[in-house]
Structure formats: C-alpha cells, structure tokens
Symmetry: C2
Subunit: 407 residues, 2 copies
C-alpha cells in the first residue's frame, strides 16, 4: 500500500485552480444563454430606454407648470395633444401645457414629468385641472436611466440569470459570447461494478457513481461524457484515462475504494503524458482518498469509491475547479443558518461534512444529522444539506447555530 504522501487541506486544494486552463468560448443565441458564462464584457451600444418614458398613465407636463398646485388651488393646463404608443410625439409641451400619455409612452420635448391621471380632472377637451405639485423627473424614467451609451453592463465571467438575459435583450444583444460548457469525462472502475441495466450477480453492484456524477456535472452547467466501466487492470485504466483526457476538459475517475485499486489508479495517473500528481489524500471526511493529477493543463481526479464520499468531494473540491475552468467568477452563495438538533462528535485534523435534514419546527429551522455510513446513497437522498465541522473542532453541541450548504 502506498502511503498518502501528500495530504492537502481544502484550502490548499482550492488554491491549485490557477494551474488549470480555462475552456474556449463561442457566440450563441441569446435564447440559449441562460445559465451560461459570459466570455466578454458587454457595454451599452445606446442609451436604454433611449427616450424619456412615462411610468404612469396621465399627462406629460413641465413640472414647473404644477408648482404650488393642490386640491384647493389646482393648476390649469391646456391639453395640446396625445402621445401615441411607440411613436415620436409630433409636438412639444411648453409651460402651461399638457399631453395625454400612457405608461411606456415617450415624453414630448419640453415635458419633464408625468402627472398621474388620478391627480387631474378634465374641464373640457382642451383643459385639465392638476391637483398635485410635481418634481422634475417624477413618474418617468429618463432616456439613459437603465444604461447610458458606452456604460459597462455585464462583465466577463458573469453567469447569466434571467435578469442578465433581459438586460442583453434590452440592448439588442441577440448573440452573445459565452464560455463552452466544460466537458467532463467519467471513467468508472471496478471489477464488481455492472451497468445500471444489468442484473448484478452475487458480489456485484450496479454503477451508481457514473449516474450520480453525470447529474452533478449537468447541475454545474457542464457536460458529462461517460466511458463505461473499466476493470481493475493497469493497461485498461491507462488507456481509458488517456482517451478521456484527450476528449474532455476534465476527467473524473470513479470507484476504486480498495487500496489495491487506489494504487493501480495512482500508477496509471502517474504514467499519463505530462502528468504530475498534485496530491493524494485530502484532510476531509468523507473523501480522504481523493487524488488529483494535472496532465498538460487538464485535471484528472481520482474520486473515492463510496458514492456519498464522491458526492461530497465533488461539491467541495471538484465543483469550484469546474467553475474556474468554465470561466465563471465565483458568486456569493451564502449558507442557510439552522440549529443543530443533537451533539456531533468530530476528530481534529480534518473537516467533517455531515449530512443533515432540515426541519421547520417550533418556529425555528433545525439541522438533523442523518445517521448511516458514507457507502449508503440513501443518506444523501435523505439530506437537504451539508454541515462542515471545522478542522480544529472536536465536535458541535446540540443547539449550535450551523451553516448549512443546501444540496
């Protein structure tokens, strides 16, 4: 058995990201861009909305025409026209004048505010009474209020949410440069593993990890590429790893929790082209027997065999690297606070990730640890989130407020 010669802590693993290259990018249709990562800065090509726009139904006026107006002492204004939606008004509004306008209409020249229809009365077809005093700019947005021409709207590395899609459509950016979805190869290993569609013989189990990892990869906005199950032979592993590396931006090797399998995987990783094993062993639980090699600019991970361990390692270590190579700027995703429902023991020197169920009870949110070994997928199915117990902690007391990362 090879010793864990280079055990790293979480921060050291996360700091390795700079050693890995970003994927390429391409222009795609805006309709396909939700969830993708912007690969260029986008500036406003023109003012948005581009004209002074009413945000209420009423009359476009000069605010000065209404100064001092009240219920008891209304201002009297001459109605000089009506703004048609979507058209340039063919007239202007001077002091003492008003023009009918609906929400979204363009203010005529000379008007600097909109008086709400509720604050007016029609005396005849050409005259209104106004009961309120307006400030300039009231009930309208000015022509560059959403964005001024040339202003930086979105910067490279931004993940496009619905509102960013909206902003891009506002400026007419129908095609947008985004980073490619990272392609992530999954090589499953183990002589005891059979495909999902097979009926396992005694001693065999179905390939859980490939399906679980593929779903995690999709959830991260990347594209899984599966390579089936490779038996416990060095040559087969080596060939599968080489091929997966060539065809993808990152590779996950799944399975192989036995020492023999781990040694075989490590041997194969070490002998890959331009390979450098960066660590094997991480001070977390579950997930200690994780390894990472860099081959050229690409990462190839050896994940623990137990599915729950593999999931935790994916969430804590692999996903941040995937975010990095996908060109994405990390965003604040704060955890949820909950009250621990019972004592939790831990061992110093490693970070423990405990699976918890959330329960909203007695007016507070409880985090209830889920019992069961890390080999059991049902423990993850029962979980709503993970709680990390710090490397220096011997455990947490019942009632402690903990940070829960939702899963």
């Amino acid at each position: 058995m090879k010793e864990f010669f280079q055990v790293l802590d979480i921060d050291a693993v996360l700091a390795l990201k700079e050693q890995f290259e970003c994927v390429g990018h391409a222009k795609i249709d805006l309709n396909e861009a939700r969830g993708r990562v912007l690969a260029e800065d986008v500036a406003a090509p023109a003012d948005i909305p581009g004209f002074n726009r009413a945000t209420m139904d009423g009359y476009a006026v000069r605010a000065a025409s209404t100064f001092g107006a009240s219920e008891g002492s209304p201002a009297y204004l001459e109605v000089v026209g009506s703004v048609t939606m979507g058209e340039l008004p063919g007239f202007s509004v001077n002091r003492g004048q008003a023009a009918r306008i609906a929400t979204g209409g363009m203010l005529p020249d000379g008007a600097d505010s909109v008086v709400m229809v509720e604050h007016t009365d029609s005396l005849d077809t050409h005259t209104i009474e106004v009961y309120r005093s307006l400030a300039p700019g009231q009930n309208m947005v000015s022509k560059d209020e959403d964005a001024a021409k040339g202003q930086l709207l979105l910067s490279k590395g931004c993940r496009l949410r619905p509102q960013e899609i909206g902003l891009l459509s506002a400026v007419g950016c129908c095609r947008v440069a985004v980073y490619n979805r990272p392609r992530v190869g999954i090589v499953s290993t183990g002589d005891e593993v059979v495909p999902c569609e097979a009926t396992p013989a005694p001693g065999q189990i179905r390939d859980i990890n490939t399906h679980t990892l593929a779903a995690l990869i999709r959830e991260a906005g990347a594209e899984p590429v599966t390579y089936g199950i490779v038996g416990d032979r060095y040559e087969a592993l080596y060939a599968a790893f080489q091929r997966a590396l060539k065809e993808n931006d990152m590779v996950l090797v799944s399975g192989g929790s036995s020492v023999g399998m781990r040694d075989l995987t490590l041997d194969a990783l070490e002998s890959l082209d331009q390979s450098r094993v960066l660590f094997h062993g991480v001070s977390i639980r579950p997930g200690k027997p994780t390894m990472l090699a860099r081959c050229g600019g690409k990462a190839i991970w050896g994940l623990p065999g137990h599915v729950t361990s593999a999931m935790v390692v994916f969430m804590v270590l692999v996903n941040p690297l995937l975010v990095h190579i996908g060109g994405q700027r990390p965003r604040i995703r704060p955890p949820v606070k909950a009250c621990l429902s019972r004592n939790l023991a831990s061992v110093q020197g490693r970070v423990d990730f405990v699976r918890v169920r959330l329960d909203d009870r007695d007016g507070r949110l409880w985090a209830e640890p889920i019992l069961g070994q890390s080999g059991l997928i049902r423990t993850m199915v029962a979980a709503d989130g993970l709680v990390a117990i710090d490397v220096n902690s011997e455990g947490l007391d019942q009632g402690t407020m903990v940070d829960v990362t939702l899963i």
Copy 2:
C-alpha cells in the same frame, strides 16, 4: 378605467392552485431525468446492495473470533481464502478463520465483520494476528442496509437531484416516469415593443419581458413557447390568447402596464372560452396590476408591464403554481439571513419586495437595498435577492436581520 374589483393578498393567490390541473407524465431515460419530477412511487425491487459488503480492506471474520484481542494479546486466525471482487466467494469462514477481502468485496458465509488490514499482521501465508476486538457488523454494510426489498425509496412528486438519480441507478431503474415539463406560452403585448433584433425607432423599446420570462420558465424546469408581440387591439389579443391556451399548460401575458392596455387584456381574458377571472390586483409591490384567469383547467396570467415587476410576480406567484401543475411537492428552501444596511420605508396593506445586494463585510452578511424604479432591469441585475416587507409593517430599521430569497 376598470377598478381593481378583486384585489387578493399573496396567500389567497397561492391558495388558488388547487383549481388548476396537473400536467401528464411519460417514461424517460434515467440519464435525462435530473431536475425532473417523479410521477410514480418507486420501491426497491431487491435488497440494496444485495450482499454483505466490505467497507474496508482487510479480512472478513466472525467478530466472535476476535473478542478480547488486543496489541498485547492478539487473536490468531487461519486464512482460508481470498475474496475476488465481483464474485461469490466459494467458501465460508468459520470461527477462528479469516478471508482476505478488499473494500466492496462480498463477505463469505459465516463472516459478520471485517478487520482492517492495519490491525493485523501476517505470520505466514496461512495465519494472521489480529490486534482489535470487532463488533458484529463492523466495517461492512449489510445486504439490505441501503434499501430492503419492497421498501419505498422515492415518492411521487419528488424532484430528482443527483442523489435520487444515484438511488434509481442502484436499483436498476433505467427508465423512470416523470411529469412532463409544463409548457408555458408567452404573449408579449404593446404597440411600442419591437423584437430584440430590431433597432427601436424613437418611442419604441425592445421586448425585454419575453426573454426574461422565457429564462425564468426554463429555470423553473418548464418549457417556454413564445408567441411574439401582439399590438394593442382586442381581436389580436383574443386570438393570441386562445391559441396560446390551446397549445400550452399555462400562459403568461406580458406588457400592458397602461390602464388602457390592462383593460383590453382583461376584456380579452374575460371573453375566452370557459374563462373565469379569479382576480385582478394583488396587494404586493411591485406587481399590483397582476391578473389571473382560469380557462378550463389552465391558468392565464396578465403580468405587469415593467420587467422587474413581472419578475417579482413570477417568483412570488407564478412559480409556485408552476411547481404545482408540474406535479412537484414543495421542498424546504429556507432563505438566507442578512443584516439590513439601511432603513427601509414601506406602506401598510401590501407586501413590499425590495431588491438587495449581498455584501460579506466585517464578518457579517449585509443586505443592501438597491435604489431605482421597478421599470429598470438593471436593478434586478444588481440584485442577489429579494427581501419581503410584511403587509402590516411600516418599514424596517437598519440592522434588522432579514430573510433574503436568493434570485
């Protein structure tokens, strides 16, 4: 102008969901099922993992053979065989005997635990010393520990995360019954609105809402179907609404924030086949001029024209209905707690939704309100979340801990 004759509060709107029908379902490939909603209960067709399985490398033994063993007084066991991965061991282990086994291997008959290789020494090829006393069941999972045959694993209405995909693959469920993605038609309205690819003339603006809503619909796991921009004419609106209702499970009508447009939309909604307008007006801000009609079992929403208002209404009201018609059981998604960075005024009688940016500063998480009118898409781009100010509140003081719903 038609009065808001039926203004509802949020809870009353949410309670309407029972009036709407659920979409149909179909069997799909497990690889496509992530994020989809299970349309059937799934029970375990067999025990999982199906055999007693080692979770450590070492020797399969009877725990009783090790009782009392220690460094000073080891137990001596006869090695009677070696378990090959993925195969049924062709021998059994009796008291005083041991069999080599790797993580994932099948325990031979007679063995009830695994002693870690680190706690043993080989004396010769047939004899080991054991330095620890084991409990039955130690370092193994029993054959039905992940699931017992017939046990309910997942129930109808469950949204499939990676771990649920893993569990389904473990039981060989390669095809799975899921609810169809709800199809949601989007009809954009307004004479001033032009498509994203057009250059707006003075007074015109690009269609922001269709793109933003389509992205929100995709994010909710549903499928948007767009119907372009319809002008401000009753007949055109009526025809577009009828067609969209026929072809979709739900319809969103976007735009029309002017009173005239809202009246036209309401007229068209009222005259649709089997139509019943359930409300127009909701006591929230932004979003008050929202309306909902039920046509047969389907919902057709009239959303406010300002994009930010439309987004808030989607998140607060439309999305829960979409979850319901998509067959999904609501899950706990607790908000994030943050400290309000400044005073916020509010008006009683409505729930205010304030856009906030999150800032991790001085060791705490701050919610910083974003200024700007609800017509401005940039206010949503700058936001990380929404804070609701209760219907009975006159505002919130700086320093209050608030619940932030991430967006």
